[in-house]
């Protein structure tokens, strides 16, 4: 569907070329992978406080522009995230797919949503992925629980920011 821009508005550009469909479909994938690659910043962290930006981008795309990613996109994107994140391979594949299925189930029941509900759903998915990821990667006795809560809060607080970013990218690429 083409977005309807009013003729008497500044955003009305009738002769602008729209993005090629293949490229427009690739943009969400690429942006999630760039988010995953944020672990490449040159800091040797002693505590795991860096928010999982790949997951944030994925959730933002899923919740804000639900047709931008296929239902099965979480699996391959999670595989790439596992390659760069240091988690055991398969943990993000499992958890990201799982949160996609969960969001799908919530969406079937909670049809009228606002941004607040989106934020809540994203917060739940982030907490789920981080907590389960911690138990998949580390033994029970590891002393990371305080840091884990801090990481969950930081990540959930960053969701509006990535939502803005995703909305901006989505507006630029145009609806397909």
């Amino acid at each position: 569907m083409k977005r309807q821009v009013p003729v008497h508005s500044i955003g009305y550009k009738p002769f602008e070329k729209s993005l090629a469909p293949s490229r427009a479909r690739a943009i969400p994938w690429v942006s999630v992978m760039i988010g995953s690659c944020l672990t490449a910043i040159p800091v040797i962290a002693t505590v795991p406080l860096l928010p999982p930006a790949g997951l944030l981008m994925l959730l933002s795309w899923r919740l804000l522009a639900r047709f931008s990613l296929r239902h099965w996109a979480a699996g391959p994107l999670g595989f790439f995230d596992d390659l760069v994140s240091g988690q055991p391979l398969g943990s993000a594949v499992l958890l990201w797919s799982f949160s996609f299925i969960l969001i799908e189930m919530i969406e079937a029941r909670l049809v009228f949503r606002d941004f607040w509900q989106d934020w809540l759903i994203a917060g739940g998915a982030i907490a789920l992925c981080l907590i389960l990821g911690r138990f998949l990667a580390l033994p029970i006795g590891t002393h990371v629980d305080g840091v884990l809560w801090a990481q969950i809060v930081i990540t959930a607080m960053l969701f509006p920011l990535t939502a803005r970013l995703v909305a901006w990218i989505d507006r630029k690429r145009g609806d397909q």
Partner: protein, 289 residues
């Protein structure tokens, strides 16, 4: 947001099937993830080649970033040095004067040590440096503590080699790619290094806690008392780390198990040295027919 009417399939068989297949694929993705997780739990190095292939792309990017940040950060530092150079000069001269006596005594000790070694006929393996490289990035969002080293198989780095800095042990090489290697830091929850107390040779292990520190645990018996200021170096047990590499110094005392920071702090680390494994594993015995 209004409900998604576009997801309704209507009477189109094609749309119905394609939506159904995409749901099946989504669930299949989760199942594949679970299988991969089991495989990587029981065989951690299974996907090392894939990980290292991705890392060889990200590592140059990280080191370029680090160089750029370092260049900008060094400007105010350079200005500061310019103004305080006089005072610093005087201080350094003072330090040199004080250290001189210490150096002389150390030299005497070295000579004496060599004599005693020849008397005892102890054969010391010297730890040779394989390569000196930078740690460029780490797993900042995961609970595991890995760092990426900017040198790999082409530089002679092999899995199992110890990595150290000037002030102490950093960890060991876990996986290697052509030009990058993944280092297991001391603070990772699966890192375990045999150490001994310098004061009396008390054996202990430094087990990673996952929060940037290690637990120093006594291994010989119970009710072992640790004092603040106790200094621990690698013991060489296990043959991976050469004996005598500094590991940790206790800030607080305790009994049996004390958490402490490591001497080499990877977050402020510039350059790390990869050394040959102290006593490499003997070759596997030939299969007898």
């Amino acid at each position: 947001m209004a409900p998604a009417r576009d997801r309704r399939t209507g009477f189109s068989r094609r749309r119905q099937y394609s939506i159904f297949v995409s749901y099946v694929l989504a669930v299949a993705g989760a199942i594949v993830g679970a299988v991969l997780l089991v495989v990587s739990t029981f065989n951690p190095p299974a996907f090392a080649a894939l990980r290292m292939a991705v890392a060889s792309v990200t590592a140059p990017v990280s080191s370029a970033f680090a160089a750029a940040i370092g260049g900008v950060a060094s400007i105010p530092e350079g200005i500061g040095h310019y103004f305080f150079v006089q005072r610093e000069n005087a201080e350094l001269r003072d330090v040199l004067k004080r250290q001189n006596a210490l150096v002389l005594r150390a030299r005497a000790v070295v000579v004496e040590n060599r004599h005693l070694h020849t008397l005892l006929r102890v054969r010391d393996r010297s730890a040779d440096t394989v390569v000196v490289a930078r740690l460029v990035s780490s797993t900042g969002s995961s609970g595991r503590r890995f760092a990426l080293l900017n040198a790999g198989r082409w530089d002679g780095v092999r899995p199992g080699m110890p990595v150290r800095a000037a002030d102490g042990l950093v960890g060991r090489v876990l996986e290697t790619g052509p030009s990058v290697a993944r280092v297991l830091l001391l603070s990772d929850s699966e890192s375990m290094v045999p150490i001994r107390r310098t004061r009396d040779g008390l054996p202990a292990v430094a087990a990673g806690r996952g929060d940037g520190r290690v637990d120093v645990r006594a291994v010989s018996g119970t009710n072992v008392r640790f004092q603040p200021g106790d200094f621990f170096v690698t013991s060489g047990v296990g043959g991976l780390y050469a004996p005598g590499i500094p590991v940790a110094k206790l800030d607080v005392g305790g009994i049996d198990s004390v958490p402490t920071g490591t001497l080499a702090t990877p977050d402020s680390l510039d350059i790390a040295t990869v050394e040959r494994a102290f006593m490499p594993m003997p070759p596997a015995p030939a299969a007898t027919p």
